[in-house]
């Protein structure tokens, strides 16, 4: 069977994979339509914007590898789709460069289907990669190693890893690209598409994508880094405080693919010496460079003055408050109002908030062709933020469930599968309701995607408040549902709770895929049944009051602090 060309982008991790994946995922339809490139999604349909990478092609969401048959099935469907949509090139991206089981699974699956794939991999100079990897994964590393311990004891021979791949696939099918600023002329995305055989202009046409590279995967915004560095300056003994051990030195360095300078020049030289031969072989065998130079970055000067935590920050206001950009719809109101009251009364807050209330006409349209609308983009670009907070959407569970439909329904909640069901109600499959909720949430999920693409600041999405359990309260403050409530019963609280949970699960899943931290409702604002605590009930049926808003502001401050740590 003939099939489109298949290219698999295999990483490595910490080489801007998030930027590549975000650009491809958010432009799935355009890539397919204009360039006949399919970057397939497994969610909903092949051109669905999420998730960004294709991990779920190969691993089950609950863990464990898929079978070769399943992988073959995915590709078969993608080929079928390609045949009917004139797709000429399928691109798959997952940065599991080091995963030997993945190599085996791919080899078996592609062989069974008789598919030949080419591969693209970005390699980063070992010292910079090890620093970045330590920063990223140190919390999951056993024994809490220092960066030096980790870097000196971790095998970073890229040639050996590539050999594992070439034992399974033809060597000539691998395109190796150095992930190094001076070798990524024009940027990562142009380089990526050029490596795939397209003109660099393709990347430029994927609006905004290039803005997020090459550090789209970074969770630490430059200003947070800067602020941390400023804080460090205030402390005379920074290495006694574990927080400071994690901090990069120069804020500008976090934007670059090169070293974070966490390792001493001596350590970096040791690492580079250890891998020099390996790197030379890669340069000669994969890039055809007779001089054996894989990376062009000069080695560190052993005499270079260095100490961990060195900073070149010149910030004049080390005590400035974190700047937070909060954007959303109706559930933003309580926070916004409260913050306004604080400001008016001169009360202090631990952070400086800027609220973008999308209900206001001036922010319409929220999105234009999947990108932030001009007014929203302008507001976001007006400053560099320490955190971006989303309170987008969140009322779907109310319009689907505040009052009971004439065809009474119930469903099984994934969060409480054994909970009793409403007697006599029609039991609707949960996946069916979820499908409707996903469909109805599209614009809000697209907004999250566009926000994620437009900022490198840490992003948080606040779960919408749980439903008000009291029917008496809802009937006491019925507007604007008064007429509806005169003729329809309020849906039983436990069903409204299930709809809310289902909605939250959808947002959480998408946030996970986008690298946005999902922040659950404050635990002290939730009663023993998981509903909105009475203290947070507003005089209306579908939101929460300022007490809840106050608690959310505190939650955000905690989030920002955590990001700093």
């Amino acid at each position: 069977m003939s099939h489109p060309r298949v290219t698999i982008h295999i990483g490595q991790p910490q080489t801007g994979t998030g930027a590549i994946q975000a650009a491809c995922a958010m432009n799935r339809a355009a890539l397919a339509d204009r360039w006949k490139i399919l970057y397939p999604s497994l969610v909903e349909h092949f051109l669905f914007p999420y998730p960004l990478h294709q991990e779920f092609f190969f691993q089950r969401s609950g863990g464990g590898w898929r079978s070769s048959q399943e992988v073959c099935d995915f590709f078969a469907k993608a080929f079928e789709f390609s045949a009917t949509h004139d797709i000429r090139h399928i691109v798959v991206s997952w940065e599991a460069f080091f995963e030997v089981p993945w190599m085996d699974l791919l080899a078996e699956s592609l062989s069974r289907m008789g598919v030949t794939s080419d591969f693209i991999v970005y390699l980063r100079q070992q010292d910079a990669w090890l620093e970045s990897a330590w920063k990223h994964w140190r919390r999951t590393m056993p024994g809490d190693p220092s960066v030096s311990e980790y870097a000196l004891n971790t095998d970073s021979d890229w040639y050996n890893v590539l050999s594992l791949w070439t034992e399974r696939f033809p060597k000539q099918n691998f395109r190796v690209r150095p992930y190094e600023k001076r070798q990524l002329q024009g940027g990562l995305l142009p380089d990526f598409f050029e490596s795939l055989g397209y003109d660099k202009s393709l990347a430029y046409e994927l609006a905004r994508s290039s803005e997020s590279e090459p550090t789209a995967g970074s969770r630490l915004a430059p200003d947070v880094v800067s602020m941390q560095a400023s804080l460090r300056e205030l402390n005379s003994r920074p290495h006694e405080i574990p927080l400071f051990d994690e901090l990069p030195g120069d804020p500008s360095e976090d934007r670059e693919p090169e070293s974070h300078r966490l390792l001493s020049p001596d350590d970096r030289i040791k690492i580079l010496q250890k891998n020099e031969l390996s790197n030379q072989r890669i340069a000669r065998e994969y890039l055809g460079r007779s001089d054996g130079r894989l990376f062009l970055e000069p080695w560190p000067d052993p005499e270079e003055p260095w100490h961990l935590g060195k900073t070149t920050s010149t910030r004049s206001d080390p005590l400035r408050k974190p700047r937070i950009f909060a954007i959303g719809h109706s559930h933003l109101a309580a926070m916004k109002r409260l913050y306004g009251d604080w400001r008016d009364s001169g009360e202090s807050c631990g952070a400086e908030f800027t609220f973008v209330q999308l209900l206001q006409d001036k922010y319409k349209p929220e999105l234009v062709e999947g990108q932030l609308g001009p007014s929203v983009a302008e507001a976001l670009n007006a400053d560099s933020w320490d955190a971006v907070i989303s309170v987008a959407g969140g009322n779907l569970y109310n319009w689907l469930g505040l009052t009971e439909h004439p065809r009474r329904l119930d469903f099984i909640s994934p969060d409480a599968p054994s909970a009793p069901l409403a007697e006599g109600a029609e039991i609707v499959p949960t996946s069916a309701i979820r499908r409707r909720m996903v469909a109805e949430s599209q614009e809000h999920l697209a907004l999250l995607t566009a926000l994620r693409a437009a900022t490198t600041a840490p992003m948080y999405h606040l779960e919408s408040p749980p439903p008000i359990p009291s029917e008496a309260h809802i009937r006491k403050y019925p507007d604007p549902f008064r007429k509806e409530l005169e003729v329809r019963p309020v849906t039983p609280a436990f069903i409204r709770w299930k709809l809310w949970r289902l909605q939250s699960g959808i947002f959480q899943e998408f946030c996970d895929a986008l690298g946005i931290e999902f922040v659950p409702a404050p635990s002290d604002m939730v009663d023993e049944n998981g509903m909105l605590a009475e203290i947070a009930w507003p005089p209306e049926p579908t939101h929460a009051n300022q007490i809840y808003g106050r608690r959310q502001i505190r939650q955000i401050e905690e989030c920002v602090l955590r990001a700093m740590q």
Binding site: R407, E426, S431, F481, H543
Partner: protein
């Protein structure tokens, strides 16, 4: 000088040259007589292979009374068809074989309870072995699947008992079945759920006698619960995707279609209430020169379907011109009725119909089936309820309203 002989008096339709070779292919009409006609108010139940979906759609489009007893809850909005709602009369998915058909009846009335009741898929979700693709993403729990199936069976019973015309499109002879109890699956275990186990599952290719026997058994049961039914049999012209026999797929396709054609002929010939409609011949006949198939040589073109349905309406319909709009009857299992069949369907509501079925069927298990609760019986408000709630929620989210709300 020639003597008189029978061929001198036979009509043009008996001559290949006059009725096939010399006609423009779209004018070929192989129907010469019918046993009944279908009025616009007759509730038409459809089931069968994927080709039968074309019939459902065209009936609806033409203003005929395509009967739907299993409707999607309005919370699903426009997503119902993705989950098999409204594709056929009830959400049974494709019924490829006559064996599935008779077993569907028996399962709906509680007479047959297959050992394979619930399967799981690779995602750990639950799948109905007898309609494995009906719920995208699978069912969350086995209980949810069983609850949905119970409602499904109520709707199937109602469909069997309240229709006036049943159109069944025979699709396949090849099937996979349980070695334990003979339960016939629409798909091989392991394909869309479950796990194939050669000690429990086996391949079987139905013979013409078996298909005819299954159809006869089904009709016997159907006439017990719906004595006035009229049944139209067709054979799907869509070739096999793949054969599990050791033969070439082309050979297996011709054998399969031939067997189905023979069985349909035998059945129509032996039952007054059963007629055969030659959709298979219209699509595959030499006159079409293969033009009614898409490039994959399997899918039937819209033009082919149009030809089939033109002939169908010409001979079976009361076609005094197309009727705009959709006159489909939707009767959910809880007595909800919309469309021209309201009075009839209400009179034959699910619960009463179920009791009647139990009485008439007189089989073990039927009583149990009839006593199952029907879903809510309140008239269907459609999606208007949700549309209104969406509008009101938008009002509640208005900034001014919120300003009032958050200031307590």
């Amino acid at each position: 000088m020639t003597s008189e002989h029978p061929y001198q008096s036979i009509p043009d339709t008996a001559y290949w040259r006059r009725s096939v070779a010399n006609l423009p292919h779209r004018r070929v009409d192989p129907v010469v007589r019918t046993k009944f006609r279908i009025s616009r108010t007759d509730g038409i139940m459809t089931l069968g292979s994927c080709f039968a979906q074309h019939i459902s759609r065209r009936l609806e489009r033409r203003g005929y009374n395509f009967l739907v007893t299993e409707t999607a809850h309005p919370i699903l909005g426009t997503l119902g068809p993705e989950m098999g709602y409204g594709v056929f009369t009830a959400r049974y998915g494709n019924v490829y074989t006559a064996r599935q058909l008779v077993q569907l009846f028996d399962r709906a009335y509680g007479v047959f309870q297959p050992a394979d009741s619930v399967w799981t898929n690779g995602e750990g979700k639950f799948v109905d072995p007898f309609r494995p693709q009906i719920q995208p993403g699978g069912f969350l729990t086995a209980e949810e699947l069983l609850a949905d199936r119970e409602r499904h069976f109520a709707c199937v019973r109602q469909a069997f008992e309240t229709h006036q015309v049943l159109v069944f499109t025979l699709g396949l002879t090849e099937l996979w079945r349980s070695k334990l109890d003979g339960a016939a699956f629409p798909l091989c275990p392991g394909v869309a759920g479950g796990t194939f186990d050669s000690s429990k599952h086996e391949f079987h290719d139905l013979s013409a006698q078996e298909v005819a026997s299954d159809l006869a058994e089904f009709l016997k049961r159907l006439l017990q619960v719906n004595p006035n039914t009229r049944v139209l049999l067709t054979v799907s012209p869509v070739p096999l995707v793949a054969t599990a026999s050791s033969d070439h797929v082309l050979v297996a396709t011709v054998r399969s279609k031939s067997i189905l054609r023979v069985a349909a002929d035998v059945t129509a010939g032996s039952h007054d209430a059963v007629d055969y409609f030659p959709s298979y011949e219209i699509i595959t006949g030499q006159h079409a020169r293969g033009s009614y198939f898409e490039d994959d040589l399997r899918s039937v073109t819209e033009s082919g379907v149009s030809h089939v349905m033109q002939v169908f309406f010409r001979h079976y319909g009361n076609d005094d011109g197309a009727v705009p709009g959709n006159a489909a009857t939707t009767v959910d299992a809880g007595n909800r009725v919309e469309g021209p069949q309201r009075k009839v369907a209400v009179a034959n509501g699910a619960k009463r119909a179920g009791k009647k079925a139990a009485k008439k069927a007189g089989r073990k298990g039927a009583k149990k089936a009839a006593s199952r609760p029907s879903p809510d019986a309140e008239p269907n408000a459609g999606d208007e309820h949700y549309a209104e709630m969406k509008r009101l929620t938008a009002l509640a989210c208005d900034e001014e309203a919120l300003d009032r709300g958050v200031k307590d």
